[in-house]
């Protein structure tokens, strides 16, 4: 019993710190929407559809969904050069937008849960922080 309570306390403690650093998914998605509209929408457009051949789509994008960490890296450090998205080639420049790690997590949660995209996990600040250039 004692060890069970101890375990519970430990769990609550970890859950607490996790919640402290990472807001609930719904909040992250709604904050991410604001970031998206401010920094991403003008190229990737309002439904993540992009512009064929110029700005790759984010909606149902294989490039995004097949390797989420690669997209996080792109937002964090910038992305340039040829890539293929949903069978179509792109060769542009996306600069690092100067977003902090929390903002990147938020915008990823928004992108991954909209326009037909769904992703079982929440993108956390730790995951963004762990991705290096």
């Amino acid at each position: 019993m004692k060890s069970f309570l101890g375990l519970m306390a430990l769990l609550i403690f970890f859950e607490g710190t996790w919640l402290y650093q990472n807001k609930p998914l719904a909040q992250s998605i709604s904050d991410g929407k604001e970031i998206y509209e401010d920094f991403c929408l003008q190229c990737h457009l309002e439904n993540g559809q992009g512009v064929s051949g110029v700005f790759p789509p984010l909606a149902k994008s294989d490039y995004l969904l097949n390797d989420i960490d690669l997209s996080i890296k792109g937002i964090k450090y910038g992305l340039s050069g040829p890539i293929v998205v949903n069978g179509e080639p792109y060769d542009g420049v996306m600069q690092n937008q100067g977003l902090d790690e929390g903002e990147i997590a938020d915008v990823m949660n928004y992108i991954l849960n909209n326009w037909g995209n769904s992703y079982k996990e929440m993108i956390t600040l730790e995951r963004v922080a762990g991705i290096t250039e």
């Binding site: 401010d38 340039s80 060769d91 600069q95 100067g98």
Partner: protein, 373 residues
């Protein structure tokens, strides 16, 4: 039956196509592209935002993420001594321009995102410094827009000079269109005019208005990213990003209100309207507006005559459609538009060099010289 039906069908098709192509005339033409080519002057610059020429073979180029390059005969060297550059959204290291008397005083000006100030975030700043070799000294902050904001949009900014000892630069609405551009007491959505030492000219239009930002020369702008001086009239010409279908060319005059966001030809990028008003008393009409938007950046007149038939024409970069636009002007109107170097890449900047050729800053590439075969 067949005969009766076909006129109706034609009418239907006509109606449909006229709905689809609501391009503001003159319609863009695409001439034979084999007539144009480029020569790479320097490569390996992701976003070559600004440039200015020291001589035919020597120029300064800004990289948006915060690097200033001195390019000599195609080789780039990083210039040291920049202040801290705040890179966020569309902000970063923006334009660079040589002082009109650079040969003697070595002074350069540049605009950049800066965190100077109390609030979180940043806003556009104008600096000057002396360039000696590959380093800057005597750095001075001449103007800093306030308040800071974490918004990513609409920092401006180009720097030009008139022949009366003034410097002009622009700052966009900083993503706060309903607050900044029409309020003379606030920065953003303005073209500013300063003396070359950064002081405010006594005859600036709003110096006697209480609480006004005295550096303001004109207002009601959204996001000016192209500016040049007309080679004959000396007028300041500007282009700015509008909303969807509202990009503009304006001729900047003292004290004018260019109307954003109370009047515009554009709509929100989401498709919703901003206003149904395209004109209002006391507000200027654009010299030209682009529908669809081309996302204009950079602006230069071709004055030299090195290109056959281009003398006097206006050139503007298109970020969105990845070409250089040539606009032929006649009697105060745009009479012809052409795509030059179609699909070259996102054209961020265009300038006429001392040799009379046009030079482009192209994203993902660098600086390219425009050749006409």
């Amino acid at each position: 039956m067949k005969k009766k039906f076909s006129p109706l069908l034609y009418l239907g098709v006509f109606y449909l196509t006229s709905c689809i192509s609501q391009e503001n005339p003159p319609l863009i033409e695409t001439p034979d592209q084999s007539k144009f080519s480029t020569l790479t002057i320097v490569d390996g610059i992701d976003v070559p935002w600004g440039m200015d020429f020291i001589s035919e073979n020597e120029l300064l180029v800004t990289e948006k993420k915060g690097t200033l390059y001195l390019v000599k005969n195609g080789n780039k060297t990083e210039v040291s001594g920049l202040p801290e550059i705040y890179q966020r959204g569309q902000g970063g290291l923006l334009d660079v321009a040589l002082h009109p008397d650079f040969k003697n005083n070595k002074i350069i000006y540049f605009t950049a995102g800066s965190i100077v100030g109390e609030e979180e975030g940043g806003n556009t700043a104008l600096y000057c410094a002396e360039l000696n070799g590959n380093s800057l000294s005597n750095l001075k902050l001449l103007y800093k827009a306030s308040p800071n904001t974490k918004k990513g949009q609409h920092w401006g900014s180009r720097i030009v000079f008139d022949n009366q000892g003034h410097l002009y630069f622009g700052i966009g609405d900083r993503g706060n269109r309903d607050v900044n551009p029409q309020d003379l007491k606030r920065d953003g959505g303005k073209i500013y005019r300063l003396n070359l030492d950064g002081s405010i000219p006594e005859d600036n239009p709003f110096v006697n208005e209480q609480g006004a930002k005295e550096a303001t020369y004109s207002y009601g702008h959204r996001n000016p990213q192209g500016m040049t001086v007309h080679p004959k009239t000396g007028e300041i010409w500007e282009n700015e990003h509008g909303p969807k279908g509202g990009d503009e060319i304006n001729i900047i005059k003292k004290g004018n209100n260019y109307g954003w966001p109370l009047i515009t030809y554009g709509i929100n990028y989401s498709g919703t309207p901003i206003t149904d008003k395209r004109s209002m008393p006391g507000m200027e009409q654009p010299f030209y507006y682009w529908v669809p938007s081309i996302a204009p950046s950079g602006m230069a007149f071709s004055t030299s005559g090195v290109y056959k038939k281009w003398k006097g024409d206006l050139f503007v970069g298109s970020l969105k459609f990845k070409y250089l636009e040539r606009l032929v002007l006649k009697k105060g109107k745009v009479v012809k538009r052409e795509k030059i170097l179609n699909e070259i890449g996102r054209v961020r900047n265009v300038k006429e060099g001392p040799d009379g050729y046009l030079y482009l800053g192209v994203e993902g590439k660098g600086i390219l010289k425009v050749i006409k075969n």
